[in-house]
């Protein structure tokens, strides 16, 4: 407990322990808030089935434990999580873990591909436009960044479907495979790939905006430092200054951003999946909401919050590891 209150510096190990200890109350608070919000929702899965007799509905409520007090249900839920029991989906009549496992990878594949492309584009354009600050290219990038930050994702999705899928008939309208398709092997992957082009393009478009800006700012800050001037004064080649001295330091803060991407990899892009009818976890979330299949939604929201807290933890620890000033503060 002492190390929570000491003002001096920490070793990395102490810093990690301290950081983990701080995360625990946040995790508990988050779980309580999520559970409470769901408990506030009037109506349950039993209500949304009008064909049930009142007697049968009451039996089902008793069976699922809907009648117990909120606080007791909360502890039941938490106890279940520790036993690996994440609840039962009414809609799919399957354990929640199975439902999530079934759809999450469809979302993951889109996210990971978009993430890799986004980072490659953002790093290249960010560094290049910082090097040519105030050039035409730089102004163009700056304007593009603002445009990307201002586009409503669902609207650009609809617009591109209209242009490329309906008017020009080049790409599929949505889904993961063509209707009634039974391709296998390579043809199957090509087919999925074709369906992924538009969703991935939009996710990349939306993601590159702010990341490019971040890389550019970070790079500009580093280039102004004294040691870069020293490197120039020593007569080092410009390419060596940029890639060996500046880029390394400019990338440090960006690495921590990568840790923040952790929840986004698994969350599924709710809006994009809805617009493109992509069978991912984002669509499952919306469907669960409409069908009052709350165990799925509650567990998944909790899972995402857990990933967010974990991502923040990784980011802080990674930053403290590469920059000792953080933990000495």
């Amino acid at each position: 407990m002492l190390l929570l209150f000491s003002d001096g510096g920490f070793t990395l190990k102490e810093y990690i322990i301290r950081r983990v200890l701080i995360s625990i109350p946040i995790l508990i608070g988050t779980s309580f808030l999520i559970f409470y919000l769901f408990a506030l929702l009037p109506g349950d899965y039993v209500d949304s089935n009008p064909s049930l007799t009142p007697q049968r509905a009451a039996e089902l409520r008793e069976f699922y434990g809907f009648n117990e007090p909120v606080i007791k249900r909360y502890f039941n839920w938490i106890a279940g999580i520790f036993h690996g029991d994440l609840g039962f989906s009414f809609q799919y009549q399957q354990p929640v873990t199975k439902v999530i496992n079934q759809f999450i990878w469809n979302s993951f594949i889109v996210s990971i591909i978009s993430l890799v492309i986004t980072w490659i584009i953002a790093l290249i354009t960010g560094v290049y436009s910082a090097m040519k600050q105030y050039s035409i290219f730089d102004s163009f990038v700056t304007f593009f960044v603002f445009a990307a930050m201002s586009i409503p994702s669902f609207f650009i999705g609809l617009l591109l479907i209209k242009i490329f899928a309906i008017d020009m008939n080049l790409l599929p309208v949505g889904g993961m495979i063509d209707v009634g398709s039974n391709t296998t092997g390579l043809a199957h992957y090509v087919e999925i790939g074709r369906h992924m082009i538009l969703p991935v393009f939009i996710l990349v478009l939306l993601g590159t905006g702010s990341l490019t800006r971040y890389v550019r700012t970070s790079m500009l800050e580093v280039v102004r430092q004294d040691y870069i001037r020293t490197a120039r004064a020593k007569g080092l080649k410009e390419s060596k200054i940029i890639f060996k001295h500046a880029l390394k330091n400019a990338l440090l803060p960006c690495i921590t951003l990568l840790a923040f991407e952790l929840p986004a990899l698994f969350s599924g892009a709710i809006i994009i999946e809805q617009v493109f009818n992509w069978p991912g976890i984002g669509q499952v979330q919306l469907e669960s909401l409409n069908n009052r299949d709350y165990p799925v939604l509650m567990t998944f929201t909790m899972f995402l919050s857990f990933l967010t807290i974990l991502g923040n933890l990784f980011a802080d620890v990674a930053y403290a590891a590469v920059d000792p000033r953080i933990r000495l503060k």
Partner: protein
């Protein structure tokens, strides 16, 4: 010494400086992109708030004789499935979208700066409680949280016109934690400075120290963040309304106008129903973002690139 002297001191560097607002205006006027955005935003506001008075179709509701007409010289953006003029509807929807964006920003700013200031000024227990609460809210992904609250409103069968206010509250509920963190950081640095020692010597009350001396110093930062916050709120509202969980009909917002794209025939053959509101959102949000960026350059030279 009176409080006026202290006030001057807390405006910092130069005592001759006229006022933050005049100074900002003088500098921002030189920025073409920011000014262009500002003029465009003024135009959008006039378009939405004055425009309907000039439209011949404003008072009219349903007209089955002219449903789903493509754009013409009479109806510049065509008509919808109830025979309503889309251009007029775009103006009326804009009123709601802009109001929701602005109001939720104002609520976030009030909540965020008050809680951030209390947290930074008192530290200790209030700080721990407020900041942990902010941590908890920031750990829950924003969109699922908004969807959940939207579903709650639908389950409670809130009246559509009443629901708009609750949507504003929802958006600020998600928006305040980031702001509180930012304000707290600022307050922590300002409270160590000489002008705060002076307020100590004068024996001012805590409330006066916070509201007349600490918070005014965070105004430059708040203006920038508030601007960007409006842009974010308009985007979130439009996404929520598109999914049917934000502003719901008969109230119109730009987001729920695009909802008509969910019907296949409207999507494929009547783009005039859903393309104009999409561009309205995009152009408004990009103008706000560009204006915010200009303000950042002027008000916060530290963050200038």
């Amino acid at each position: 010494m009176n409080s006026a002297t202290v006030k001057h001191a807390n405006h910092g560097q130069s005592t001759k400086r006229p006022s933050l607002w005049k100074d900002t205006w003088k500098k921002i006027r030189k920025k073409k992109l920011a000014m262009g955005s500002l003029y465009f935003l003024v135009f959008i506001f006039l378009f939405c708030f004055i425009g309907p008075f000039l439209s011949p179709y404003a008072g009219q509701s349903v007209n089955s004789a002219i449903i789903n007409q493509p754009p013409s010289s009479l109806h510049w953006m065509g008509t919808d499935k109830f025979g309503r003029d889309v251009l007029t509807r775009l103006m009326l929807a804009g009123r709601i979208s802009l109001t929701v964006g602005l109001a939720s920003m104002v609520i976030s700013i009030i909540l965020g700066s008050a809680l951030g200031a209390i947290s930074g000024y008192y530290r200790g227990l209030p700080d721990t409680i407020i900041m942990r609460l902010a941590d908890v809210l920031m750990s829950i992904p924003g969109l699922p949280l908004l969807l959940l609250m939207g579903a709650l409103l639908s389950e409670l069968k809130v009246e559509p016109e009443y629901r708009i206010y609750l949507v504003m509250l929802m958006l600020s509920f998600v928006g305040w934690p980031g702001l509180a963190r930012l304000v707290r950081g600022e307050i922590l640095t300002f409270r160590e400075q000489a002008f705060m020692k002076a307020t100590e010597v004068l024996g001012l009350k805590d409330r006066r120290k916070i509201f007349s001396h600490l918070l005014p110093n965070t105004v430059p930062l708040l203006i920038v963040v508030a601007t960007l916050n409006v842009a974010g709120a308009i985007l979130s509202e439009s996404a929520l309304s598109f999914l049917g969980l934000g502003v719901v009909p008969p109230a119109a917002s730009w987001g729920n106008m695009i909802d008509s794209a969910n019907s296949l025939i409207d999507f494929q053959q009547r783009p005039w129903l859903w393309v104009p509101p999409g561009f309205a959102i995009f152009l408004t949000v990009i103008s706000i973002n560009l204006l915010g960026d200009g303000l950042r350059d002027v008000l916060d030279p530290k963050m200038k690139q």
